[in-house]
Amino acid sequence: MSFVFPLRARAFFQAIPGGREGANKFIMFDQYYCCLMVGLDARRLGDEGDLEGDVFVNGYPEDYKSQVDIIAGLLIDAELERKGIRTEDKLSIEREMVTLLDPTSPTHLSAAGNKLLSLYAAEGFRLIHDRMLPPSSLETFLVAYHDWWNSEQTRAWSS
């Protein structure tokens, strides 16, 4: 169980002061999560080549532990749509859940599920990088990120 950071994302977020895990810090996992949410929303996977070689963190930071099942659910939802599995196809949906879930893993995701998560993050970063300037501060990023979610572009692919 591990997360791999999108390639070049460190440089993009460089101006935002980071730091150790904590509510007041914009930690590296926050950056990964922001990319992941965009990728999952777009239902697109990045390439393995768009990821760094090594794992940057093992397991969810404290602030995200309550979101384990929600993120797993979002992954299943994205995968069902990406693969074109019909909403009433009970067998395929169950098979997908068997593939993606592993109750013994801290993320409740299988190795395949964890890998997909990072690939969604890679694609999310690509989309962010294409349409946003590197942020100069956390507050400007939060505003820009919020605007991104409410932009015509994202509305278009979700409709």
Binding site: L7, R8, R10, A11, Q14, A23, N24, F26, D30, Y33, C34, M37, D41, D63, Y64, Q67, D69, I70, I71, A72, G73, L74, I76, D77, L80, T87, E88, K90, L91, I93, E94, R95, M97, V98, L101, D102, P103, T104, H108, L138, E139, T140, L142, V143, Y145, H146, W149, N150, S158
Partner: protein, 644 residues
């Protein structure tokens, strides 16, 4: 290492050796085999040499061993004791096609059966070169050659017997180790020569110089940055001071500063609030919330996860009957187990149920994140407005005629521009981010991390190249030492063998004062008043050969049997007696093939020795060789001895 011959056996070998066996007791030190000429002495010597040296025989040679035209196959088998372990070596001859093969039986094998191949210990494989075997499976005719034929024979015999060849092997091993090291080095660097070392050394020196320059530049830029920041703070204070010279402006500035502090507090608070909301997917955007709820509803509608789990089917497969009452066979069980994999496990079901619950219960104020961000946006706008207002104050003061303030503002702008340049220069100088390095055109010439990486690479290359060179030089020293050791050892051994040979020759050939002057490759002889003696009689030649061989073998690390044919036939009676007296004590085992005429003066010197066994082989009819043991028959054989 000690090698003893315990016996041998013939089948269909020329000389009438159709089915003859010689058994020597292991305690027997001397064996005298009396065989008239034409009964297979030379043949036996040839077979011994072949068996000891794993000799490859031509088809013609094989067929020459044939006893009679009707014979299709032949066999010569020796029984050996190698360091106390018995071996049987067979030479199988096929007279039809002229082929041959060696077979070995080893005691180490549980079955003790014969295996095809020459399978004596590996050490003997190296030792038993055909030329070397001829030294201990020796016949009188070879005595002449010991001096002349094969110029290197004497020296080579010393090399082989005293294991000096091992030094040569060690020499080869050193070469192989150096080659392996260079191959490893070549994988990293091709610089295996001095030129390469110099090249890497120059490059490393240049890189270290570049690093020094870059560090110096970094220090300079940072120093300039700090000075400018300090100047900027000073100017900001000066500007404030100029503003405060006007009471109205002073009050407005105080208000703006207070507003700024409030905005900063609000922005921090809203940022943290936003960050908290951002970390919850359901609060991030209504679309995400809708998707979570949609998935929860879908799972509920589809009645997923199913209540029947993988475990249910696994347990069912262990029953004799299905829940429907039908009997379950192997095929049905396999199908059930195969199908079970498609169902969720109990713990997966539990996780999905928990997830489903969370999905369905996902509630969030859809607008909360937007609302907080709007607040943040508002405060950020306020901050920008506040900054503009601060600017306006300064402009108003400048417009009122404060030229000094104008100068300070201009300087501040210049400093800001310069600080941007410095920040950019420092970024290019220090960034470790690969994509940024590429974008900024960073190289080892202008980027410290790249320069340091290149220095590391260069140091590795140089270290490898240097190590390889040093390693090769050290190997050369070892090789030279090995050559010196071999040369010194060979010289000392030659001298020791020469002196021992001459000591024996004083007894064996006293009349002319025959001596070995030098063992260079062959034996170089001298005699009284003669610096060099090239022509010697057959008897003298044999005496020299025995003296040399016994001296050679006496102190060798191998205890070999000495098998000799017609040792005394060409010696006069006096020398025979000397040879007969001297030789037996020099070998741990001696097998001597004689003819009846050698009994006098030579064989009779063994009669008093207790550890001697006597065999007499002769052909009673023209066809088959008979074997008789015992001294009495050996002594009385002259009547039957038929000289050819």
């Amino acid at each position: 290492m000690e090698i003893r011959v315990l016996g041998w056996r013939y089948e269909n070998i020329r000389g009438g050796l159709r089915d003859a066996t010689i058994d020597i007791e292991s305690s027997c030190r001397w064996t005298l085999i009396q065989m008239p000429n034409g009964t297979g002495k030379t043949t036996t010597m040839s077979l011994f040499r072949a068996v000891f040296s794993n000799e490859a025989l031509t088809a013609d040679v094989v067929r020459e061993f044939r006893s009679a035209d009707a014979d299709e196959t032949g066999l010569f088998e020796t029984q050996l004791l190698v360091d106390g372990k018995p071996f049987r070596c067979q030479l199988r001859l096929d007279y039809r096609d002229g082929s041959h093969s060696y077979w070995t039986a080893r005691s180490a094998l549980r079955e003790g059966g014969l295996e095809e191949g020459w399978l004596l210990p590996a050490e003997l494989r190296r030792l038993f070169h055909p030329d070397f075997v001829r030294l201990f499976v020796f016949d009188g005719e070879l005595a002449k050659e010991i001096r002349a034929v094969g110029k290197e024979r004497a020296t080579q015999a010393i090399r082989t017997l005293y294991r000096l060849d091992r030094l040569k092997e060690l020499h080869q091993q050193v070469i192989r180790v150096v080659e392996a090291q260079q191959e490893r080095a070549a994988a990293i660097s091709t610089a295996t020569e001095q030129k390469g070392v110099r090249r890497w050394l120059n490059q490393l020196t240049a890189l270290n110089r570049t690093k020094e320059l870059l560090l110096h530049e970094q220090t300079r830029q940072q120093g300039r940055q700090a000075a400018l920041e300090k100047r900027k703070t000073f100017i900001a204070a000066q500007i404030s001071s100029h503003i405060e010279q006007d009471d109205q402006l002073k009050q407005r500035k105080a208000d703006l500063d207070e507003q700024r502090r409030g905005l900063d507090r609000d922005i921090l608070e809203l940022t943290l609030h936003s960050l908290g909301l951002l970390r919850s997917p359901a609060r991030l955007h209504p679309r995400i919330l809708a998707r979570l709820q949609g998935l929860g509803d879908r799972l509920n509608k589809l009645k997923l996860p199913k209540t029947v789990s993988e475990e249910f089917f696994r347990e069912l497969a262990q029953q004799n009957e299905c829940v429907c009452g039908r009997t379950l066979g192997d095929a049905e069980r396999a199908a059930i187990l195969d199908g079970a994999q498609r169902y969720l496990a109990d713990d997966q079901i539990a996780v999905i149920n928990k997830m489903k619950l969370m999905l369905r219960e996902s509630v969030a104020n859809e607008q909360e994140f937007t609302s907080v961000i709007q607040g943040l946006k508002s405060k950020l706008r306020g901050l920008r407005e506040n900054q503009k207002s601060q600017d306006r104050l300064e402009i108003e003061r400048v417009e009122a005629g404060d030229t000094e303030l104008e100068r300070l503002r201009n300087e501040l702008r210049t400093i800001d521009g310069e600080l941007q340049h410095i920040a950019a220069a420092l970024l290019k100088l220090t960034t470790k981010d690969m994509s940024r390095q590429t974008a900024l055109g960073c190289s080892s010439e202008n980027n410290l991390p790249k320069c340091e990486a290149e220095i590391k690479r260069c140091e590795l290359k140089l270290e490898t190249a240097t190590k390889t060179r040093r390693f090769a030089r050290q190997a050369d020293v070892v090789k030279q030492l090995l050559c010196s050791i071999e040369a010194i050892a060979l010289e000392k051994l030659r001298e020791r063998v020469r002196q021992a040979t001459n000591k024996k020759l004083e007894v064996l050939a006293p009349s002319e004062g025959l001596r070995v002057a030098r063992i260079s490759g062959s034996l170089e002889l001298e005699a009284n008043k003669l610096a060099s003696k090239s022509s010697v009689s057959e008897g003298q030649s044999l005496a020299v050969a025995y003296a040399f061989l016994t001296s050679l073998l006496a102190d060798a690390p191998y205890r070999l049997p000495f098998i000799v044919d017609s040792p005394a036939v060409s010696l006069d009676i006096a020398v025979r007696r000397e040879v007969g007296t001297l030789i037996p004590d020099l070998f741990g085992q001696m097998i001597v093939f004689v003819i009846s005429s050698e009994r006098a003066g030579f064989a009779d010197s063994f009669y008093e020795r207790q550890e001697t066994k006597y065999f007499t082989l002769w052909r009673e009819s023209q066809e088959v060789t008979q074997v008789r043991t015992g001294l009495p028959f050996f002594q009385q054989f002259h009547a039957q001895d038929v000289e050819v």
